[in-house]
């Protein structure tokens, strides 16, 4: 089989994994030769689905001995199979990197023969890249649950980021759809890598996981609660959400013609963002009473509408944390306001001069004691008005968010 054919098959099989960011490497080792990593990622291209291409995202092989119901590579599917050698992957990475196509490699794999064998092939690839090609760019590698601890640790020492996908948000769903996997088994390699780093005084490597949205019946509340517990234990840097695209005919899964729940995925990313950067608690966003995110509004606006007593907020006085809670104000707008109001008392015209959008914010603020728009502060009246606003395109996708992590995220 030619490299060309392999690349086609192993790209096709890898594309459903959405975590493809190249940001936030804290690796201290320098492998000398080609490449550098930065704190913010770089999107080198955007594919026809509008997603950022930052890494060469491929599987080492799509052969797999398992039969996870939701997975296109499961053993019971009749698909073309292929396997790269570690050297082929290394050559591709180096040659793509030199041409400025990519920031590095995102390598994952089906389980070929057994877990240890697969993990050692992944390790071999990283060893080639780091030690023989002296590649110093970004490498994200999927750890193989069930592989030997030494292999896991050796691999994570060479990578910038490791991940292990939980895929399904509850143990019940896992048991039903991926009986070989349990939550504990999936997270074990991450724990091993983390503990090793801590015990040896190294900075823990960035870790992430992915959840498939809409394949199983968990509510947004259950999903966010799981994310929150993973973040708060400082276990993970990122949780990715992937709207389920039916690839297999299976009685336990949505039918093949069900479209992926893209809006729901988008709202989950926004909620996740509020959790990580805006100091929101899960309960404020979703709870027993409101287990699903409102698809009509972004979660910050939805929260504001349920908490009108919190408003209006005077933009000349409010603290940074309070300003960040105003719907439609992102970190950037808040930064501008904080900077400008040191010089003078701000007026509505000043806000407009600084190109701060008041589209939805106007209903929630006062500027020098006056409201930019006289409005009835009742849920119904506001909901009606806000629904009439033109909708921005849902553009959320993980890497975009990662990318502007510190400056943007206008919710």
């Amino acid at each position: 089989m030619t490299i060309d054919e392999k690349l086609t098959i192993l790209t096709e099989s890898a594309k459903y994994d959405v975590s493809c960011s190249s940001s936030g490497s804290t690796r201290e080792e320098n492998y000398g030769g080609l490449g550098a990593t930065g704190t913010s990622g770089v999107c080198h291209a955007y594919s026809a689905d509008g997603r950022c291409i930052s890494l060469l995202k491929i599987l080492l092989t799509n052969y797999c001995i398992y039969d996870c119901s939701y997975c296109i590579n499961r053993i019971s599917n009749d698909r073309p199979r292929a396997a790269f050698t570690p050297r082929e992957v290394a050559e591709l990475t180096i040659n793509f990197y030199k041409r400025n196509y990519i920031e590095g490699l995102f390598l994952s794999s089906g389980i070929i023969s057994n877990e240890d064998h697969t993990m050692s092939l992944l390790l071999k690839t990283l060893q080639l890249l780091r030690h023989e090609y002296h590649f110093n760019g970004y490498i994200h590698v999927k750890l193989i649950p069930g592989a030997a601890q030494e292999l896991i640790i050796a691999t994570s020492l060479l990578a910038d980021r490791v991940s292990s996908n939980i895929e399904l948000p509850s143990s019940k769903s896992l048991q039903l759809l991926a009986p070989e996997k349990t939550k504990e088994k999936v997270f074990l390699p991450l724990l091993q890598a983390k503990n090793y780093a801590l015990e040896n005084g190294k900075r823990p490597i960035g870790m992430s996981t992915q959840m498939i949205i809409g394949a199983t019946p968990e509510s947004d509340f259950e999903i966010m609660r799981l994310s929150d517990s993973l973040y708060s234990k400082a276990m993970l840097k990122r949780v990715y959400y992937s709207a389920y695209i039916p690839v297999n005919n299976d009685k336990n899964l949505p039918a093949l013609n069900v479209p992926p729940p893209l809006l729901r995925e988008h709202r989950l990313y926004q909620a996740d963002w509020l959790l990580r950067f805006y100091d929101f608690k899960v309960d404020e966003i979703v709870n027993e009473e409101h287990p699903y995110l409102d698809e009509r509004f972004d979660p910050k606006l939805a929260w504001a509408l349920r908490n009108l007593h919190y408003f209006p907020i005077e933009i000349n006085r409010a603290e940074k944390e309070t300003l960040l809670r105003i719907p439609g104000f992102g970190a950037r707008s808040v930064q501008k306001i904080l900077r400008a109001r040191r010089q003078k008392q701000l007026s509505t015209n000043d806000l407009i001069a600084m190109k701060i959008s008041l589209k939805s914010a106007r209903y929630f603020i006062t500027v020098g004691g006056k409201q930019p728009e006289k409005t009835l502060m009742s849920y119904e009246a506001l909901e009606y008005k806000l629904l009439a606003l033109p909708k921005p395109l849902p553009t959320a996708q993980p890497t975009l968010f990662d990318h502007f992590a510190s400056i943007s995220g206008e919710l």
Partner: protein, 241 residues
């Protein structure tokens, strides 16, 4: 009165110096290549490198490194008629330095916007420039960015290609940034022979295109989103399009 300068940074700074010596402001300050009306009164500013450097020094000392950078970034935003604003901005700074902190001031806001455009373009060019490997292993990229960002692209690529040799060639402005494995230099390029590519260059372009086409998820096609991230004008030199 219309003032014209030669388009260089030194030339622009010389115009600022001129406005101080003449104690006057032009109605319009523009590059000499820009067309103007037949009956306009014109003054051609002569570029004086010594004066320009002196002014730059004063800017750095009195207004600070950050403002100096802002001025340079604005200057590189060469698809915009920034000259009038920048001239007045510099004069405002010397008169009342604290005003430069006030982003609700229209001039200050305008300059921030020019700078942002430049910085955004650098970011895009760092990501979207495509290199080819030449016979001797040199990495070679042709670009034609909407703003004059080539002078600011060196650091980024030097970091990644420390031990390589590379050339980034701005065809629109006939300039090239050349790195020989040790130091970076900016050159004017008026004539050049199309370099010979390495034997496997085509293979890797083809493989990249393969990857690019197959990584997209057909259930999620979204050409509008793709276009908003990679505007058409950047695609000319991107081999995957």
């Amino acid at each position: 009165m219309i003032w014209r300068y030669d388009g260089s940074f030194e030339g622009f700074l010389s115009s600022v110096v001129q406005s101080y010596t003449d104690k006057t402001l032009p109605d319009l300050l523009t590059k000499s290549e820009v067309d103007i009306g037949l009956f306009d009164e014109i003054l051609d500013i002569s570029t004086n490198t010594k004066d320009a450097l002196k002014l730059l020094h004063a800017i750095e000392k009195q207004l600070g490194e950050k403002i100096k950078e802002k001025i340079y970034h604005t200057f590189l935003c060469d698809d915009q008629p920034f000259e009038n604003d920048l001239l007045r901005y510099i004069r405002l700074g010397f008169k009342e330095p604290s005003l430069l902190e006030m982003i609700s001031h229209p001039l200050v806001y305008a300059i921030e916007e020019y700078q942002k455009r430049t910085l955004r373009t650098i970011h895009k060019m760092n990501a979207f420039s495509r290199f080819e490997t030449l016979e001797d292993g040199t990495l070679y990229a042709q670009i034609s960015p909407p703003r004059n960002v080539l002078p600011l692209m060196g650091g980024h690529f030097k970091k990644r290609f420390k031990h390589e040799r590379f050339i980034i060639h701005d065809l629109k402005r006939s300039m090239a940034l050349i790195y020989d494995g040790h130091s970076l230099e900016l050159h004017n390029i008026h004539d050049y022979d199309l370099p010979q590519r390495s034997f496997d260059e085509e293979k890797y372009q083809h493989l990249w295109k393969r990857f690019f086409d197959h990584v997209a998820i057909s259930e999620r096609l979204n050409p509008n989103l793709q276009r908003s991230h990679v505007p058409l004008l950047y695609r000319e030199w991107m081999c995957e399009f």
